[in-house]
């Protein structure tokens, strides 16, 4: 939380002592540079439907891509999308794409989307500022409707096959849940699209993974499946907030993006973007808002409607 408080404090200071402190001068440069060149470079994950993936004629499309364009528009620039591969963990991705750049070269993007908005994580990653929370992701199960409801929700997977993406939270959970009794029924896929394809083909009785990915992969064929969270004993939480990350110190840019995200959300554009890509929109547990009314100071508030935070 300290980290987030610091961000708020910094933005207050910045607005008061605008351009007077050296720090503010440096901060202005990142945003000024972006506005001078007219381009906001946004890092998104490659091959990651429905957020960022290759659509028709190889064009990169998706929720995060649309959000990138919406944010850039509000900064008065255009978005250049940098589709990046996921490294072993988020720390690597932030180093490669936000604050340092990969050692193979190529530099960093101005902002990266789909980064966790989590104070404990933020405290351990002080090279970047975590801003503009826009969405809450959650592990859900899609279960063939006539199999759901028999016995306890997870217990059926001691007998029935369930698909997961390899090396994910759902995978780890199911491999060890029920003292390993589900383990032999867990079928691994490279991504949720492939898992859902096998679910539709009748090879599986269910899949588990992030809601957005499952809803998108199910598409119009959602009937016949019960989709939703299942109580996962032993798990602290099955959901997490997502936002954006900029390099620590680029405070003007952070403020501008926070401001842009407020507008994108409050105008309803954010929700429309999710719906356009076949996923239902979930508010994050904290949202970015102006406080007090239009004073230009930004805060991350947790009084948002926590509609689907917990099952």
């Amino acid at each position: 939380m300290q980290k987030l408080l610091k961000a708020v404090l910094m933005s207050m200071l910045a607005s008061v002592f605008m351009a007077s402190a050296l720090q503010a001068d440096e901060e202005q440069t990142a945003l000024q540079r972006i506005q001078e060149r007219g381009v906001l470079e946004v890092a998104v994950y490659a091959d990651f439907p429905p957020f960022s993936y290759r659509g028709e004629r190889g064009r990169i499309v998706g929720i995060d891509v649309d959000i990138a364009h919406a944010l850039a528009k509000r900064l008065g620039v255009v978005a250049a999308i940098r589709a990046v591969g996921a490294d072993e963990n988020m720390e690597d991705d932030l180093r490669n794409n936000v604050w340092k750049g990969h050692y193979l070269g190529g530099g960093v993007a101005d902002v990266m989307l789909h980064t966790p908005f989590d104070e404990a994580f933020a405290e351990e990653n002080d090279r970047v500022s975590f801003i503009a929370p826009y969405y809450r992701e959650q592990i859900v199960f899609a279960v063939v409707a006539d199999k759901a409801g028999r016995g306890s929700p997870l217990e059926i997977f001691t007998r029935e096959k369930i698909g997961v993406e390899l090396d994910t939270l759902a995978d780890f959970y199911l491999l060890t849940a029920y003292s390993g009794r589900i383990r032999d029924q867990v079928v691994h896929y490279r991504n949720m699209s492939e898992a859902v394809a096998d679910l539709k083909a009748g090879e599986l009785s269910g899949v588990a993974g992030p809601r957005s990915e499952i809803e998108f992969a199910l598409g119009a064929g959602r009937n016949g499946y019960a989709v939703g969270p299942i109580q996962m004993p032993g798990m602290r939480s099955s959901g997490w907030d997502l936002g954006a990350a900029v390099r620590q110190g680029n405070q003007q840019l952070a403020n501008a993006l926070d401001q842009a995200m407020i507008e994108v959300r409050e105008t309803g554009e954010l929700q429309k973007i999710f719906e356009k890509h076949g996923s239902s929109y979930q508010l994050p547990s904290r949202i970015v808002r102006l406080k007090p009314e239009n004073s230009g100071v930004i805060a991350y508030s947790d009084d948002a409607k926590l509609c689907l935070r917990r099952p």
Partner: protein
């Protein structure tokens, strides 16, 4: 320029060719490296045409012109810069043939250098695509020679064969998709006119395999997966045919985890002509958390003995069943004969030195070669299995409640009691010279961690030195008794290959920049030279025009600065570089 080539010295060579056309043709006809040359590499001193200075991997040269008595007079003959802005780790072993040295550099570069003058003949810079994410630095460990070709692997998982004389590409073969996490950085092995390779990418849950290709065309001959349940293939008359699955499906893996079981074959193999077997090591199993995959998880953390004619596994030996510490079993297996027995030595990451009967993979002897091994008390010689102490990292799903969980300290660290850097064996002293490191690691479960924007259950690791005054230790190990005959301690971790010679010397490099020579009998340091950057490459020696030469690449990098935890901060001051140094005895 898709494949930039430089022809600095070529025009000069062509001019000479016009004058002495007949002679040039003769030398061209002799230029080819035959399989017989490669098989005899350990005993022929005029060239180095294989990884390991001989297929068995002993890194022993009978040359004795440079010896204990005169090694003090060793001076640079020349030095060659890899150039460019790109530096980082230079882990190659050079090869030498027909007056040319072939050495690979970081970022998938290959150089041909005149062995007499140090002048560049040509350079090949592989064009690397955007979006490759190599796990462990941009290193390359060396090239192979066959016929008129020089063959090496690239960070985007290609094999490239170039003309030794011109550097022109003769064939290219895709090992796998770099987008799926594959790359190739080891030196290829040449066996029976086939180029033998594995796959790198052990950190991405790829499936390991050993592949054989026709060395002259790059066409596949067989594929042997390293995880049970996967089908092997062999090509007969150009037709791909099933060649039996590896092991027995689900014998040692639960569920479908064998399908993504890891066991990457990311380091080079060795070949023993006496038993006609290829020895290839395999990496750790995936996923990283052992609690999710109860069972031995074959054939991870093992040496596979593969018949080069059939592509089938003759025997295997697994060093760390159900690995939970990231102890890859990829380290080399070095063949040697002792007491009338065909044996082989292996210094594993897990801290044990194994002596195996290389005809059947049975363990003859096993003992620790570092001061502390926490995961096992010893190796049961009847079963060949470690006698585990029970010290294993906790189950990360237990941290799902949001608590950090218990931190355990365990030695060796996941970078191993010995990492990739090859050891040497001297038939004169009957000792192995092992570049070891004394370090351990804290491991704990990470409750708050993310991967690709998603919550994840990870583990935290920090590497810590065991002692204040040294990490690296070059040790002379007696395979018969397990005794350490001598040791040389080094402040920074050792990360370069070792070589020993008939002159009674042992050579190895240090991250501090020195190439050093030791007395093979007692470990006394007899000579050192500062190369200007850390030495993490492999030294070689050969004879030319009546003189003995020694070559070693210099350039600090590799996995330590990337993964080293507390150790990384200890080696922060070391500068990068990229050059090849060649030494000979001074005339004075």
């Amino acid at each position: 320029m898709k494949f930039p080539l430089k022809f600095k010295a070529l025009s000069a060579a062509m001019a000479t060719a016009v004058v002495t056309a007949g002679l040039s043709l003769t030398s061209l006809a002799q230029a080819g490296v035959t399989q017989a040359d490669i098989d005899a590499d350990a005993s022929t001193t005029g060239d180095v045409v294989s990884w390991g200075m001989g297929q068995q991997g002993q890194r022993y040269s009978p040359l004795k012109k440079i010896n204990k008595g005169n090694v003090k007079k060793l001076v640079p003959a020349w030095s060659f810069s890899f150039g460019g802005e790109k530096q980082r780790g230079q882990e190659a072993q050079p090869v030498v043939h027909n007056g040319r040295i072939f050495v690979t550099g970081s970022y998938s570069r290959l150089y041909a250098v005149d062995a007499t003058t140090g002048e560049e003949l040509w350079q090949y810079d592989h064009r690397l695509p955007d979006g490759i994410l190599p796990c462990c630095d941009v290193i390359n460990r060396g090239a192979a020679l066959h016929g008129d070709l020089v063959i090496f692997g690239t960070l985007d998982a290609r094999l490239v064969a170039l003309d030794q004389a011109t550097g022109k590409v003769k064939w290219r073969s895709k090992i796998d998709d770099y987008k799926a996490g594959y790359s190739f950085t080891a030196a290829p092995l040449i066996v029976k006119d086939m180029v033998i390779t594995g796959v790198s990418g052990g950190e991405f849950g790829v499936i390991g395999r050993v592949e054989a290709r026709d060395a002259q065309t790059g066409k596949l001959r067989w594929i042997r997966p390293s995880v049970e349940g996967h089908m092997g293939y062999i090509w007969k008359d150009g037709k791909k045919m099933e060649n039996g699955i590896t092991g027995k499906t689900n014998a040692t893996w639960p569920g479908d985890l064998w399908k993504t079981g890891g066991a990457a074959t990311w380091q080079g193999g060795t070949y023993d002509h006496e038993t006609d077997l290829i020895f290839y090591g395999t990496g750790n199993p995936a996923p990283w958390n052992a609690h999710m995959r109860p069972g031995d998880n074959l054939y991870s953390t093992s040496t596979l003995a593969i018949d080069p004619d059939t592509g089938k596994i003759s025997w295997h030996y697994q060093y760390t069943p159900n690995d939970g510490w990231d102890y890859d079993g990829v380290n080399e297996l070095v063949s040697f004969n002792s007491g009338g027995k065909k044996l082989a030595g292996h210094a594993d990451r897990n801290g044990f030195f194994y002596v195996l009967d290389r005809t059947n993979g049975k363990v003859e002897n096993a003992f620790p070669f570092v001061t502390r091994v926490d995961f096992a008390k010893g190796i049961d010689k009847k079963t060949g299995r470690p006698i585990e102490t029970g010290l294993r990292p906790g189950d990360p799903t237990k941290s799902a409640d949001g608590k950090k969980g218990e931190t355990i300290f365990i030695a060796p660290s996941f970078l191993g009691a010995k990492n990739w850097m090859p050891m040497a064996y001297s038939p004169d002293t009957e000792l192995f010279y092992v570049p070891a490191n004394e370090w351990g690691m804290d491991i704990w479960n990470e409750p708050v961690t993310y991967k690709k924007g998603a919550a994840y259950l990870g583990a935290g690791f920090t590497i810590k030195p065991l002692y204040d005054d040294y990490i690296g230790a070059l040790r002379a190990v007696d395979p018969k008794t397990g005794d350490i005959k001598w040791e040389y301690k080094n402040n920074a971790p050792l990360w370069g290959g070792v070589m020993t010679t008939g002159g009674g010397l042992v050579f190895t490099g240090t991250p501090e920049g020195y190439l050093k020579a030791f007395d093979a009998e007692n470990g006394k340091e007899l000579w050192k030279f500062q190369t200007g950057s850390g030495v993490v490459g492999c030294p070689i020696t050969w004879e030319q025009d009546g003189e003995q030469f020694i070559a070693v690449p210099s350039g600090w990098g590799g996995a330590v600065p990337l993964w080293g935890g507390d150790v990384a901060s200890k080696v922060k001051y070391l500068n990068q570089g990229g050059s090849l140094w060649v030494f000979k005895l001074s005339d004075a």
